[in-house]
């Protein structure tokens, strides 16, 4: 599923998926996660952030660095990064 889902995923789909993942880690409704606010602000600590990296690898088949959420601190920034990588792979 990974390659197909990934390559076909649009910005909204990736953002939506990331928002849902972040929301599940920090125990908030997805509607409370603003894509432009650093996810650390919602309590995404290093363990959760690494868990998210693992989720991304499993979902999109992309290998990501553990520092992903430092370099791309918001849902929007992570989504842009992933979309760039996905289109490069296509």
């Amino acid at each position: 599923m990974s390659a197909d889902t990934g390559a076909g995923a649009g910005a909204d789909a990736v953002r939506g998926w990331l928002t849902a993942r972040v929301a599940s880690y920090v125990g908030r409704p997805p509607g409370e996660i603003d894509p432009l606010v650093p996810i650390a602000r919602y309590g995404m600590d290093s363990v959760y952030s690494l868990g998210l990296c693992g989720d991304i690898e499993a979902e999109y088949g992309l290998q990501v660095e553990p520092t992903l959420t430092w370099e791309h601190p918001t849902v929007a920034a992570i989504a842009d990064h992933l979309l760039g990588r996905l289109s490069a792979n296509r």
């Binding site: 920090v26 650390a40 290093s46 690898e57």
Partner: protein
């Protein structure tokens, strides 16, 4: 006897027959990335040891900043081989504050040499220049050095009392403390662990714990070379990203034992997918040590429920208790016994007495003396009543879980292996009878020499004497009781808050919070258990002349702390001045403030609570918390 001599005996005995294997995760597949047999490891340690000796490093400290893997092990043993005091510390891979901490350790331990791997050398070199330490501290990559031949090494004189390494407690970032571990300490504690896991002749261990923590270093990395077993290990990052890796390793290598804190098992139980589960085989695992943070019955049950079908046996659970000041392990559940989960009368616990509640169901297993041969049946799965959920909040002071009306459930942490554990009145040091709650004091060969160059802190923590003059004991700062020889840990006098396996120090949180706005005053941070541990900060605010709405201020504090400390479910209550309890000498009374908040007795101006914490505060009454911890704080502060 030194640890070096012990290692070399095992090298002679096993040669290439035993090994360390570093495992990585390649796109969801387990892959071996390197292996060192005992003979190869010894050669590596001798080369590094000879290099260190040439540079006159004997009796000096060296900071080890390696990523997870085999290179650290060679460098660590190389230090011991050269009688260099090793100081392991984390790289800033996932924690941006790691280098800040390393800088403090360099200053505290008088470090002049940093050892690392070639991949991290440029970053560390730049960092040392940036903080102005490049003139005094040299940084080298042990894997890129032109090392002498292993035969160039000659064994220096190393005795049992020789300092082997400094274990910096994952403590307050503002004041890291180095626990001084001697060769005798290390040998003794490795023997304790070996006995706890059933004294295996050919033990196979699996793990992923960080090597710069006591549990990873002593419990995972050094046990095989001490005991003559094999280890397959991965990096903490690989585990956290894909927890199934750990369980796959256990199956692939037929591991008999593993060690981890509670949160890691919970992480597995909630995150391993059905597809990953299908390929697992945990039937060979006989000893799953659960320690370093409170053991939750919810986790014990969740693992059995989730992985019972693929062979995870309830009897493999081995709750344990320990700390860096005692090298690592103090008590452990003996192999084959399984966890002891008992219910205690809640009101009695509040009076600091442990009175077991007689269950109408199966009699809880009690194992006085030798492990019972007859199987008394499962303890976890037979527990009647609902599984505790976040709503039926556990009693935080007792550290246990409290399904309504059934008393407080506590998990035994096993029994002392060879050390002496006493329960004493924290004020007088007088020993308390069995079943009474007091401070845990420990005496034995694993107890460290003290904290590096901190005489006052050493005297406070390592100089406990009973009124009869017996001692010295290590004062653990933990509260608990002994019953039928089993140790139950009920709380912490120290106010450390543990979230996802990280120790958060309230003073760090309070200090950061105070800086958010000039109208903010004294603060008290503490943990509230509601399913997981939740961080709550109570902070005084001067309402007069406040130029922002209180709600905005509270959310500002919340956001700052969430970002700076990575805190999920952070709650903030702003209170009127005087709302934060203080001793006469001005020390913050966290337990008391917590008690008042939960009891609804604080003058709250504005609160931003998470749902779980809000539920606890509303319940308020009836959650009377034992005030023993306060007694200690007050007596110290008086």
């Amino acid at each position: 006897m030194s640890f070096v001599q012990r290692v070399r005996e095992q090298v002679d005995r096993h040669g290439h027959g035993r090994s360390y294997t570093f495992v990585t995760d390649r796109r969801g597949e387990l892959a071996e990335s390197g292996r060192l047999t005992f003979t190869e490891l010894d050669a590596r340690a001798r080369s590094i040891g000879a290099w260190l000796a040439d540079r006159g490093m004997a009796d000096r400290t060296a900071l080890l900043l390696h990523p997870a893997g085999l290179e650290f092990l060679g460098a660590f043993l190389g230090c011991l081989y050269a009688r260099v005091v090793a100081v392991p510390s984390p790289l800033p891979q996932t924690d941006p504050r790691a280098l800040e901490r390393a800088e403090k350790i360099i200053k505290d331990a008088g470090v002049r040499l940093v050892l690392t791997g070639s991949a991290d050398l440029p970053v560390l070199g730049a960092w040392l220049r940036e903080v102005g330490l490049d003139g005094t501290v040299e940084c080298v990559a042990t894997d890129a050095l032109d090392l002498p031949d292993p035969d160039a090494w000659t064994e220096p004189e190393i005795g049992p009392g020789t300092l082997a390494y400094l274990q910096y407690t994952s403590g307050s970032t503002s004041e890291p403390r180095g626990v001084m571990i001697t060769h005798a300490n290390l040998l003794h504690n490795e023997r304790e662990i070996w006995r706890a896991i059933g004294s295996p002749r050919e033990g196979v261990g699996v793990g992923w714990l960080p090597h710069y923590h006591d549990m990873g270093l002593v419990g995972m990395l050094l046990q095989p070379v001490y005991a003559g077993g094999d280890l397959y290990f991965a990096s903490p990052i690989a585990f956290v990203m894909r927890p199934a890796l750990w369980l796959e390793m256990i199956g692939r290598y037929r591991a008999e034992y593993t060690v981890a804190p509670d949160f890691a098992y919970d992480w597995c139980a909630t995150r391993v997918t059905d597809a990953q589960l299908a390929g697992l085989d945990l039937s060979g695992l006989r000893f799953a040590l659960n320690g370093a943070e409170p053991v939750r019955t919810g986790t014990l049950r969740a693992m059995v429920r989730r992985f019972g079908a693929v062979g995870f046996s309830e009897k493999a659970w081995a709750p344990a208790y320990g700390m860096a000041e005692a090298t690592l392990v103090i008590t452990a559940t003996p192999l084959g016994q399984g966890p002891l989960v008992r219910r205690f009368d809640a009101a009695a616990l509040e009076r600091h007495e442990a009175v077991p509640v007689t269950d109408p169901g199966p009699v809880p297993r009690v194992a006085p003396g030798p492990v019972p041969t007859a199987d008394p049946g499962p303890v976890l799965t037979a527990a009647p009543g609902p599984v505790p959920v976040a709503g039926s909040a556990p009693d935080p002071a007792a550290g246990g879980e409290r399904p309504e009306g059934r008393g407080v459930e506590l998990v035994g942490c096993g029994r002392p292996i060879s050390m002496s554990v006493r329960v004493v009145d924290p004020g007088s040091g007088a020993e308390l009878p069995e079943g009474r709650i007091g401070e845990l004091w420990v005496r034995g060969e694993s107890v460290a020499r003290g904290y590096w160059r901190r005489e006052d802190a050493t005297r406070d923590a390592f100089g406990g004497y009973t009124p009869a003059g017996e001692g010295p004991f290590l004062r653990t700062g933990d509260l608990g009781f002994l019953l039928d020889g089993e140790l139950y840990v009920t709380g912490r006098i120290k106010d450390v808050v543990i979230v996802n396996g990280r120790n958060l120090y309230p003073q760090d949180l309070e200090e950061a919070a105070r800086r958010v706005h000039p109208s903010l005053g004294a603060a008290a941070a503490f943990g509230v258990r509601a399913g997981d541990e939740h961080v709550v900060l109570v902070q005084e605010v001067r309402e007069r002349g406040l130029d922002v709405p209180a709600g905005e201020l509270a959310r500002g504090v919340q956001g700052t702390l969430a970002g700076a400390f990575g805190l999920p479910s952070m709650s903030v209550a702003l209170v009127e001045r005087g709302g934060v309890g203080k001793t006469t000498s001005g020390k913050i009374q966290r337990s008391r403030t917590r008690e008042l908040l939960l009891g609804g007795a604080l003058p709250v101006v504005h609160a931003e609570f998470t749902a779980a914490v809000a539920a606890r505060v509303r319940r308020g009454t009836g959650v009377r918390v034992p005030s023993l911890a306060d007694a200690r704080v007050s007596s110290e502060g008086a």
